[in-house]
Amino acid sequence: MLKDITIGQYFPGQSAVHRLDPRMKIILTMLYIVALFVADNFQGLLLSAVFAAAGYLISGIPLSLIRKSMKPVIPIIVFTAVLNMLFVEGREIFRLGFLKITLEGVVLAVLMVTRIICLIAGSSLLTYTTSPIALTDAIEQLLVPLKRLKMPVHELAMMMTIALRFIPTLIEETDKIMSAQKARGADMESGGIMRRAKALIPILIPLFVSSFRRADELALAMECRCYHGDEGRTRMKQLCYAPRDFMALGMLAVLLVLVLLFNRIFPSMY
């Protein structure tokens, strides 16, 4: 039931995109987002969209999945589009009472929406092609310089790993607790907000209590396996950059340069 929730929606594969170093993928995603926001005309955005589409093609992730990741963002998209269409000055093309829609507004709306779609598509590609563990490792490695600023990088990474490890287990447990309380007549469907919130207590309390106990036992087990923080710790899996990582970086650099170029050549949309 609840077990059908997949976190991160990782689709394993062997494509070139999959095999990029996860640190590089994070960096590439960030640079891509920069490119998207730097581009201020249709041509730049189109180029970025094509770039993302190419990424999907190479990785073998179906483009239709983008629609799925769009769902939660639809309100924002609609809101942005409407704002732009109604409140941008320019040549009027439609009027409904005191609301007027301008040509410039429509153009801007389309471009804004395109930007948002590319943004979602690009960052989703990261989570579709990179496993949560790889992402956690990558984030930990990238943040290493912050250790000098006394930031608990290793501890944060350990927290993320353990959280990821226990999510499916906790979901299973929640399922069991819900079944047990339903078997005693708990009603989780009916009633207003207050009633439904109260109905969650028989689920949340056992879950919290058991989670604290788990944490206790896990900590003890970790200490018995000589865990003592980051000091002197080695890693079995080492992340290594390969030539393809630098090639990908190069391609993204080219994208950025072109975008900046297009900004020069073509008129801005603003």
Partner: protein, 286 residues
């Protein structure tokens, strides 16, 4: 001395509890021993086990594991790399998101070089029969498989002693059989010293030495055959005996002459065969 565990006169009580969880307990375990510690809940068996890797420190007496005094704070990590522990709850000792990374956890903690970690992880997983599951996520495994992964995580550290604290209490019969088989194999094939805390007498029967505890004291410390002959005593302290042992005991109580050291099905069948045959009760081959 070849002793892996050398515990003398251990005394321990939990905070807020008046009674002694360990009441002047002494125990010696030699290298390569396969020892079961049998007792009902509250007998002190888990408390005793937790003294051997310094989860608990004795309030009286002294405990040496592989020559290290467990109370020596400076050598704690060294102690724990030599005495590994497998806990009861299969889920709450697996840290990583995939099997092979969890097996590597202990080795990473003690700073073993990455290449060597890889080799030892693969070996450990093969030894417990879980190599093909090395890329699985823990929640995809059965209880017995999770416990085997936990065991692999400990043996990868190549400890002198493995302590298993009721490792099968939460498992189904198949899982229990898997874990017991693995543990016996580790002792028999690799000479690992094993201390198995349990309340299942079939597990104790498979070990070479059984220590029976009750009320914080050691009642019996002998090979399984000898221990299980004390049927009434075991029942008194809330333990079971194998049915094979019990039926022979019952017949002996009715005055029938039978050997008093029977613990396995086969031995029981042999003994009853002879009995029935010699009393002229038919049967082809006795």
């Amino acid at each position: 001395m070849d002793a892996i565990i050398s515990a003398k006169d251990l005394v321990f009580s939990y905070p807020g509890d008046a009674r002694l969880a360990l009441d002047h307990v002494s125990l010696t375990v030699g290298k390569g021993d396969l020892v079961a510690v049998l007792g009902h809940n509250g007998s002190g068996k888990s408390t005793l086990a937790k003294h051997f890797n310094a989860i608990l420190l004795p309030q009286g007496g002294v405990c040496y594991v592989d020559g290290i005094n467990t109370a020596d704070e400076d050598r704690l990590l060294e102690l724990r790399s030599r005495a590994g522990m497998v806990f009861q709850n299969p889920d709450n000792q697996i840290v990583a998101t995939i099997v092979e990374e969890d097996v590597a956890f202990g080795l990473e903690n003690i700073g073993v070089p990455p290449d060597e970690i890889r080799i030892r992880v693969d070996e450990a997983l093969t030894d417990v029969g879980m190599y093909e599951y090395r890329l699985h996520a823990p929640h995809q495994l059965s209880g017995g498989q999770k416990q085997r992964v936990a065991i692999a995580g400990i043996i990868a550290m190549m400890p002198k002693l493995i302590i298993l604290d009721e490792p099968t209490a939460m498992l189904d019969p198949r899982g229990r059989a898997e874990v017991l088989e693995t543990v016996i194999k580790l002792n028999r094939e690799f000479g690992v010293t094993v201390l198995l805390i349990t309340h299942f007498m079939d597990e104790a029967a498979a070990c070479r030495r059984v220590v029976v505890m009750d009320d914080g004291k050691i009642l019996l410390d002998a090979p399984p055959k000898e221990v299980f002959s004390h049927v009434s005593l075991l029942k008194q302290v809330g333990l079971d005996v194998p049915q094979a042992t019990e039926i022979i005991h019952e017949l002996r109580r009715s005055g029938i002459n039978l050997p008093d050291d029977i613990i396995t099905d086969e031995e029981c069948v042999e003994a009853l065969s002879s009995l029935l045959a010699s009393s002229g009760k038919g049967g082809g081959w006795a």
